[in-house]
């Protein structure tokens, strides 16, 4: 699945940059090459501002969707860099490095007997999972999409996902929409009820590390295979600085180059949570 698209630094026009929920924005960039060739799970690294020394390094963002020649990035304003991004106007150009990293492996869905995709998105971790769902909606027998956020105002893309013909389950920590509690609790309940043949199920997830660690535990208990996309402090994005190390069962690996998608059972979660 991971077509090798040459990673490049490009300057591309912003087609739109809209708020889609509280603190959440979608920037659409004219980038036909990446839009055509990327694999869900891959990311780009953008400059919030050019020709200044602060911010200094790029912001890594999971590729969200493609619409025609437009590449969409869904991001949450979490600091000064993303705040600058949210202020960018249509027609401005943005400096973008990508596509970077390896996307999700879809082969378990086409392998004999493994036909259900369970996708779990925590917060803006939904960004790289939406394009994955667009594919599993067609390829998998069944897709169950779980969205977990702190509150209802941070739930994005639920309606669009339903239109893809997949089942959407929502959990909010404050109970303002759907199940009250963590999405992992909701998932556990649902899996116990509906999943009779765990070997047919593949789990895909992106979100905060504690959520991913909880999923790893569930996947372990239920003997489900799965893949997670990780976020990390990152500088170069191309495997040069060794900054974005993550502890795996085979020692440190790099989120930017070896990931950001990893086998859920490959990560040393005990240390990944602490480190």
């Amino acid at each position: 699945m991971n077509r090798k698209t040459e990673k490049k630094v490009v300057k591309r026009r912003i087609l739109s940059n809209k708020k889609v929920a509280e603190d959440h924005y979608v920037m659409k960039i004219e980038a036909p090459r990446i839009a055509r060739d990327f694999s869900p799970g891959q990311f780009v690294a953008v400059k919030a501002r050019e020709k200044v020394t602060d911010p200094l390094i790029r912001i890594p963002l999971g590729i969200h969707r493609t619409r025609g020649k437009g590449l969409e990035l869904l991001y949450k304003v979490v600091g000064p860099g993303t705040a600058l991004l949210s202020a960018k106007k249509t027609g401005e150009k943005i400096d973008m490095l990508g596509p970077l990293g390896n996307g999700f492996d879809l082969s378990p869905l086409t392998a004999a007997g493994k036909k259900t995709a369970v996708i779990v998105a925590g917060g803006h971790g939904i960004a790289p999972l939406y394009p994955l769902a667009e594919i599993t909606a067609k390829k998998a027998e069944r897709t169950e999409f779980f969205i977990g956020t702190d509150t209802k105002d941070h739930v994005v893309r639920a309606e669009e996902l339903k239109k893809l013909g997949i089942r959407v389950h929502i959990a909010t920590e404050d109970g303002s929409r759907g199940f009250k509690g963590y999405v992992t609790e909701l998932l556990k309940k649902q899996l116990k009820r509906t999943t009779k043949h765990e070997t047919r199920t593949t789990l895909y997830a992106c979100g905060p590390r504690p959520m991913l660690a909880a999923l790893a535990e569930i996947a372990g208990e239920m003997k489900i295979s799965g893949q997670v996309s990780l976020d990390a402090y990152m500088a170069c994005g191309i495997g040069a600085c060794l900054g974005c190390a993550i502890r795996t069962v085979d020692g440190y690996k790099l989120v930017c180059k070896d990931g950001p998608v990893f086998d859920v059972h490959e990560i040393d979660w005990k240390r990944a949570l602490r480190e």
Partner: protein, 305 residues
């Protein structure tokens, strides 16, 4: 315009190099740059045996700076010689191998491995990574101790034919003392500065941001301090000084050269932008043209004249 410079007997095509630890082993940048255009590629620092590196988070941005505690992760010098050297020796420019050790013996054994197997254009002795602790000195880092610095340089010098560059830490009372010790021991050049020891704190979580608690600060934030260190050392030694610290533009290169640097190293800029090097070299060349500088040496240390 003549961009060539000499360190020891080696001639470099231009004085704008890439700093150790910010350019991998060159291969990581081949999609982005003509590696042959780079003045010199300095490898990520190598140790005798593989090193796992420090616990993450290892890197975080600070105002106009980058704080890291990678911890010299590398797969060891033999792996480098096997896997990366065949590529590097063909990139069409000078290659400098950066080595370190926890004690003098490891530096010596690295030097012996290099001398026995390959012929790099120079060796940079990293005496100054703030993310490790050295043995055989009463200081944390060898480059804080003029006596140990001298001993390591002498020992490496004896075993290697190519130019030897001593990379120094700014975390000392007087960097000129260590620079003079390196010179006396036979270093062909000194490069400075390595990163400044520094911290970042997460007040919300009430803990250090870096997994290793402290790290080394690089980037534009340290440039004024690096310029001062280069200026001081330039006025204290006869060997060439190589300037490092927050070079992001051609003008930054000029500032270092004016302070006495014969060459400069681009570091953090490579991590912010893998195509930065080409722009910086172009900008520096344009500066020299505008100022009608025919030879680099006409600019070196000109601040003092």
């Amino acid at each position: 315009m003549d961009l060539k410079i000499k360190i020891g007997k080696i001639t470099f095509k231009n004085p704008v190099w890439v700093a150790s630890g910010t350019f991998g082993y060159g291969k990581e940048f081949e999609d982005f740059l003509d590696l042959g255009s780079v003045g010199a590629v300095i490898t990520k620092t190598l140790t005798l045996n593989a090193r796992e590196g420090n616990p993450p988070p290892r890197i975080v941005e600070t105002p106009s700076g980058l704080l890291n505690s990678i911890g010299l992760e590398n797969q060891g010098i033999d792996h480098f010689i096997r896997e990366y050297w065949p590529f590097l020796k063909k990139i069409g420019t000078k290659v400098i191998i950066s080595i370190t050790g926890t004690g003098r013996e490891e530096f010596v054994r690295c030097a012996e491995r290099i001398a026995g197997e390959i012929r790099p254009d120079a060796v940079e002795i990293n005496l100054s990574c703030p993310n490790v602790t050295h043995r055989g000195t009463r200081f944390r880092l060898m480059a804080q101790d003029p006596v140990t610095t001298g001993k390591v340089i002498t020992a490496v010098r004896k075993r290697i034919g190519c130019p030897v560059i001593a990379k120094l830490t700014p975390d000392v009372t007087d960097i000129t003392v260590v620079a003079r010790a390196a010179e006396s021991a036979g270093a062909d050049a000194v490069s400075l500065v390595n990163t400044y020891p520094a911290m970042a704190v997460d007040a919300e979580e009430m803990r250090p941001v870096l997994g290793n608690m402290t790290g080394g600060l690089s980037g534009p934030a340290i440039k004024p301090m690096a310029l001062k260190a280069v200026w001081d050392v330039y006025n204290s030694v006869k060997v060439p000084v190589i300037g490092i610290g927050g070079v992001m533009t051609g003008k930054d290169c000029a500032e270092f050269v004016l302070c006495g640097a014969r060459a400069v190293q681009v570091g953090t800029a490579n991590l912010a932008d893998p195509v930065a090097y080409a722009r910086i070299l172009d900008e520096f060349t344009a500066y020299l043209k505008k100022k009608k500088i025919k030879k680099i040496k006409d600019l070196v240390g000109r601040l003092g004249t």
